[in-house]
Amino acid sequence: MKTDQPIRPARVRPARGLRAARFCLLAMFFLPGMPSQEAWAGGPGSPASPADPGSPPDPSEEKGLQIARDARSQDEGFGNFSAGMTMVLRNKKGQESVREVRVKVLEAEDDGNKSLFVFDQPRDARGTALLIHGHKDRPDDQWLYLPALKRVKRISSSNRSGSFMGSEFTYEDMTVQEVEKYTYRYLRDEPCGDGLDCVVTERIPVEKGSVYRRQLVWRDKSALRVWKVEYYDRKDAHLKTLTVAEYRQYLDRYWRAGSMAMVNHLTGKSTDLVWTDYQFGTDIDDRDFTRTGLRRVR
């Protein structure tokens, strides 16, 4: 699953781009620190906020929160990177459908990151692009480029729940991943991944409207990389499991996963994500993330 497919143009129907946008939003979740850094939506550059003064001094909660903060701070300072993402949607019968996206991210010093997503596949959506200016203190700004009309459209960045395009990822998965969006509890130490020494924490969404009651997160102790997440629905039924693998380290610091697999235990459907061509310290600059730059996207 390499995203070595050449960059191509798109002749897309206008509304198709909206679907592309939803997909890109998903990508946004994974990109930035991938699940290993939950803080991404707020930007890796965001400082850890002080502990909630109202929270009880439960040692397991403090330890859980500290793990989440440490994980976030480890991803700060990456500057920029680009990568390719291939997504394989698989239904119960094993029928597959492939999505390919190219991604560029620019770290911002005093605000949320800027991101650009360009669709290569499916081919009818090729050339559709989504530009996101992330903000820490207000909703993100998002523009969609529709190549058939050569139209740049500002779109809603409202948070959304529920899965999309038949994939097993929800909008909640991708948008609200800031440290402050959960309460944490340290549970136990146990091996995970490929025989690594890991720590298991529980995180509970602060937001009442969440589709999840809780999530269990497995991280290795050495680098705090996420290897597994179990998602439990409102009735506390085990809904989905995310398995992360093939980590590689870039710039001697930033860990990025090569593959992720999300399995839905209720529907039998699954979605595989493969990351390729990670490049840090590229010549990406602000010009790649403007409304006019969006029209030059290829």
Binding site: P6, I7, R8, P9, R11, R13, A15, R16, L18, R19, R22, L89, N91, S97, V98, Q121, P122, R123, D124, A125, R126, R138, P139, D141, L149, K150, R151, V152, K153, R154, I155, S156, S157, S158, R160, S161, G162, S163, F164, M165, G166, Y171, D285, D286, R287, T290, R291, T292, G293, R296, R298
Partner: protein, 423 residues
């Protein structure tokens, strides 16, 4: 006239050949260039269930569309983008047509803490925010035979400079080689009782189609607000018409014929969108001078579209999104307006299932608030595979008044089916 169609096909073939033969490989690195050939082929059919009103018109038309695209980029980031376009239509030789949608050289670079961009050649530029019509959008001519919704645009030769920074975006355009609006031929549906003969087109300017046209736009984003202010000075994209009683014979058209007249106009435009949560509020407004109204008299007028869209995400806990559109179209000329939008309400529903096939459906109505007439639209699109997609469309025109501009189209509701291959 099959000869006309043949000539166009030939031209298209030549252009396509020129485009495809040039790069040695269809895509990839060739020398220091990045080249990429892609595009779209489509087979389409239209059915008109109601009886045709005029001689020569049929009830069915089939055809195909080819839209290849060549992209070249060198190591310095200089880009050459070429998109020829061709449609063959079995019923109407005027709908069989070729257009160079894009053929431009693109240069860009940093300027201060912003950037500059230069596009030289044929390009398309879109300005605007609303859905019911494209009011502010004026740079490119409308390819009317493509769809009566007037949203398909032809390529326009131009020199196009963009300069942007923290303070916003400035666009400056110099244009020449005016493109004539396409109109159905005598065998085509969706035409007036009198056929338009583009060969007889007249220009107000003595420079004719070579008259230099200028346009500029300033746009910016301030928080939730995106806005743009534009000006256009030059040859109108929308023609007025003259009636000629003895012009028909040379063109092979039944007399009399209409001939388009392109006046010099000036248009100020404003477009704005307020994006808050799931709600988008939109405004487009223009003030145009120099154009003729329906009575053929020069009249300066204002027109606007005011409306918005609201999306219900994850409708009823499914994967589907439902978007509602509502817009008010107003042209202060009222009955003297040269279009359908003198005082109309546009409402639409778009359902996106967000399934693997990307299924989506849009139903819309454009209802005249002064008369009883309405235009209904239906669009269905679904992906069949990675390379193939299908779309189904329908337009119904109801209760058109006898004195209305569009009375001749009262029988021209249609259903169309298209299969697209993306390569």
């Amino acid at each position: 006239m099959p000869s006309r169609a043949l000539v166009r096909l030939l031209w298209f073939g030549v252009c396509l050949l020129g485009v495809t033969v040039h790069p040695a490989t269809s895509h990839g690195q060739t020398g220091s260039y990045y080249t990429d050939l892609s595009g779209r082929l489509a087979a389409e059919s239209r059915w008109f269930p109601q009886t045709a009103l005029f001689q020569g018109q049929g009830s069915h038309a089939s055809g195909f569309v080819a839209e290849p695209n060549l992209y070249l980029e060198d190591e310095a980031g200089r880009i050459l983008n070429v998109t020829p376009w061709f449609r063959y239509d079995s019923a109407d030789d005027r709908r069989t047509h070729f257009d160079l949608r894009e053929a431009y050289l693109l240069l860009s670079g940093a300027a201060g803490n912003g950037e500059w961009e230069l596009r030289l050649g044929v390009d398309r530029v879109f300005w605007g925010v609303v859905e019911s019509r494209h009011l502010v959008d004026i740079v490119n001519q409308i390819d009317l035979v493509e769809h009566p919704d007037e949203k398909t645009r032809m390529g326009q030769p131009m020199a196009y400079v963009t300069w942007s920074s923290d303070w916003g975006v400035v666009e400056l355009l110099g244009m020449s080689w005016h493109r004539k609006r396409t109109f159905p031929g005598s065998d085509g549906r969706l035409r007036a009782s009198v056929v338009v003969d583009n060969d007889l087109a007249e220009y107000e300017s003595s420079y004719g189609k070579w008259h230099p046209d200028f346009a500029a736009r300033y746009s910016h984003t301030l928080g939730l607000l995106d806005f743009g202010a534009s000006v256009f000075d030059g040859t109108a994209r929308e023609p007025s018409f003259g009636l000629c009683f003895d012009c028909g014979a040379p063109s092979g058209l039944p007399a009399p014929v209409l001939y388009p007249i392109y006046h010099r106009i000036r248009q100020f435009g404003l477009d704005a969108q307020w994006t808050t949560g799931s709600l988008l509020l939109k405004l487009e407004a223009i003030r145009r001078s120099g154009a003729r109204n329906l009575a053929g008299v020069e009249e300066t007028f204002n027109a606007f579209v005011l409306g918005g869209e609201y999306t219900f995400f994850s409708l009823w806990n499914t994967d589907a999104d439902l978007t509602l559109f509502a817009e008010w179209d107003r042209d202060e000329r009222g009955r003297r307006a040269t279009n359908f939008y003198e005082n109309d309400l546009f409402a639409a529903l778009r359902l996106m299932l967000n399934d693997v096939q990307g299924t989506e459906m849009t139903v819309s109505v454009l209802h005249d608030l002064d008369k009883r007439q309405s235009i209904y639209g239906l669009e269905l699109a679904r992906r069949l595979s990675d390379a193939f997609s299908l779309d189904l469309g329908a337009v119904a025109i109801t209760n058109i008044d006898q004195d209305d501009l569009y009375y001749d189209l009262r029988q021209d509701g249609f259903v169309q089916l298209g299969i697209h291959y993306h390569f």
